[in-house]
Symmetry: C2
Subunit: 403 residues, 2 copies
């Protein structure tokens, strides 16, 4: 049994670092708040007597040795948040992983394999895009140079900011061999809550594509320029987005236009340029790909009709992922044995497990999200489910660590 109150104390402690609007967190990757949380986390790891490593992209590992010199079982998630995001997303997974290790230490339980708890850098992708950058470096999806050179909206680079907060560690410290990876996370969607379940056994992750679409026309005066001669990118983009919504319905994909910028962004100037992002997701790759084809045609057609120039730039693609069957079975068996109400579920959100799954057997356990709200200060998960998930994680990790 985990010490749930101890876990809760750690969670509440985290909820103060970057706190906004009472229940929210604003702890973007590599900000001062992220640094503060990292300091608290590493000090805690050291106090437990774990060996602590930081790698060259800022991932933090705390290691409990095993009885044999084997590849470790890894458990973790991320401590960064969205702007005005929630207190559970990522954080619950890291702190439950930590609690599992502390429970084993406290009870003097030895395992064959080492166990490592990890905090991955910049899972959210809110400040530096794309998301899950640092687990993506481990899997070989992104190069370190690419990650270092990504910039936030103020032009600050990942590499400089990582250095500034003092978490640019060494490449040798990266996770190399991994026996297995388990990540606990809140669902961030409404399915488990709607069906009144305790546990989600995650079988894979939806495919996701991100695009930036920039549409450029002629900047001119709002009062003097006749409508007929305008090349207005704003009106073009409104039509495009409205048509993409229809296409998303047709292809049954999830569509989000989350980021939108107009230039020069002044009431009485017809914009020169409008840029926005498209996030499209589907369980099946072919649906996502069909949507993308149709999206490109729509952008092309509308731009042509309106004599504006459009550029479509892919920011990120992550095809549909299937997690490891054996770990899924292990989670299922343990959950059933404990009498938890569970179901199999496909994750709508990306997670670090997505990239780790490319290099090692991985799977995830979901906790219900109240009303399915996430990436918002109203994000909430009941204590009961955090407790259930922690105990299930304990059993699964223990079993994996003795394999």
């Amino acid at each position: 049994e985990i010490d749930f109150n101890r876990f809760l104390a750690n969670l509440n402690n985290s909820s103060e670092i970057g706190k906004v609007y009472e229940t929210g967190l604003n702890r973007l990757a590599l900000t001062d708040e992220d640094k503060k949380m990292r300091d608290v986390f590493t000090e805690y790891l050291r106090n437990l007597g774990l060996s602590v490593r930081v790698d060259d992209v800022g991932n933090i590992y705390g290691r409990k040795e095993g009885e044999e010199n084997l590849a470790p079982v890894v458990v973790g998630s991320h401590l960064d948040t969205q702007p005005n995001g929630g207190r559970y997303d990522g954080i619950a997974g890291v702190l439950l992983g930590l609690e599992v290790i502390e429970t084993l230490l406290e009870n003097g339980i030895k395992t064959k394999r080492p166990i490592e708890v990890v905090n991955f850098t910049n899972e959210e992708g809110a400040r530096f895009s794309p998301p899950m950058m640092a687990s993506g470096v481990l899997s070989g999806e992104f190069t370190r140079d690419y990650v270092y050179s990504t910039k936030d909206k103020d032009g600050l680079s990942f590499g400089d900011e990582l250095e500034r907060i003092g978490y640019k560690g060494r490449k040798e410290n990266r996770l190399a061999e991994i026996h297995s990876y388990v990540e606990a996370h809140i669902e961030q969607g409404p399915i488990l809550a709607d069906e009144n379940l305790d546990v989600g056994i995650v079988t894979g992750i939806q495919g996701t594509s991100w695009f930036e679409i920039a549409v450029e026309g002629d900047s001119n005066h709002a009062g003097t320029t006749p409508m007929e001669v305008r090349r207005d990118p704003m009106l073009a983009v409104a039509e495009i987005i409205h048509r993409l919504e229809g296409l998303a319905k047709e292809k049954a994909v999830k569509l989000t236009i989350g980021k939108f910028l107009a230039e020069p962004n002044v009431p009485n100037v017809i914009p020169k340029k409008v840029k926005y992002t498209v996030d499209v997701r589907a369980d099946e790759n072919y649906l996502r790909e069909e949507f993308i084809e149709a999206m490109k045609e729509t952008v092309e057609a509308v731009s042509h009709d309106r004599a504006v120039n459009a550029e479509i730039h892919e920011l990120w693609e992550s095809p549909t992922v299937k997690f490891d069957e054996e770990i899924i079975k292990l989670i299922t068996d343990n959950s059933n044995a404990s009498g938890y109400k569970s179901r199999k579920i496909i994750s709508g959100a990306g997670h670090d497990a997505r990239y780790i799954n490319d290099i090692a057997p991985a799977a995830m356990i979901f906790m219900p999200s109240e009303a399915g709200i996430s990436h918002d200060i109203k994000e909430h998960t009941e204590e009961k489910y955090l407790n259930i998930c922690g105990n299930l994680l304990l059993k699964v990790i223990l079993e994996l660590a003795n394999k």
Copy 2:
């Protein structure tokens, strides 16, 4: 005859202050660049021996005395620009006014009435909204407190910034009695250039309304939230703007969505809130009013269908304006006598003459804008037309100042 080369030297001098991309200017109201231009302008006025005043909203006046103690003839415009705007908008009018006065001084020409050249603060409304704030204070349209309290996007107030650049003068210095006001300005539209004319005789200004529309829904995760349960303000706004475009065609009004902000503005978060401005203009008030009615219904209907909340906030209204018949006739007669090719024209853009017209007889003279481009670095007016306008202005001012 004005000294055209002297005017050109002043214009070129101005074109260096806040210069961007070779041909453009970035000289937003009350910035360091605006201060620099004001310093150059006031020093020039002083060197001419004019008496210089700055009023409590930063308007700068240079006065040449008349033979009698009568209300002055006023000529001028503004020296601030849009972000990445042009070198002529406003500036040509101020510097031609200055050149008229210098020409009279140089030739020892006395007039019955005093003549004042004025630079109005923040005509553009790009940094502090609405436009033409400082001429609006003179006319009683805006209170000084209202103007002082407007804020730029970084939260800096007009009042503080005016003080910071050292141009908060005294209320007693405001223009009080005005005999007549004439403003020379570039057309900023394509009409004069298309018709190959030298001069536009401005009979009035289109009515303009500005709105800010804020649409609020539920912020949530792009990957986990089923499309059916979303309350997505971005998709609502795309539909609204697309429908407004159709309405604008129907009602024959000019429609511009120039400013657009999404919150939190992150690719994988369904926006919580989307805010945008609507600039609508028409020669006839009733057309603008009909459009606004229909716009409100559209916003209401779309928000209702999509269960999002919309708020419409009027930022500015300026009904259609008609300029003074006598001054229009004076301009027409002088233009014809000089053999200039001219036409009567309604201004699509607002100008300081719009508010001064509420308290004194006013009119304007337009110069052709190459390709109708303005509020852009590509803004250009041929020297020939600047020269014609300067000489026409000289005759008109001289005649008014002897009335």
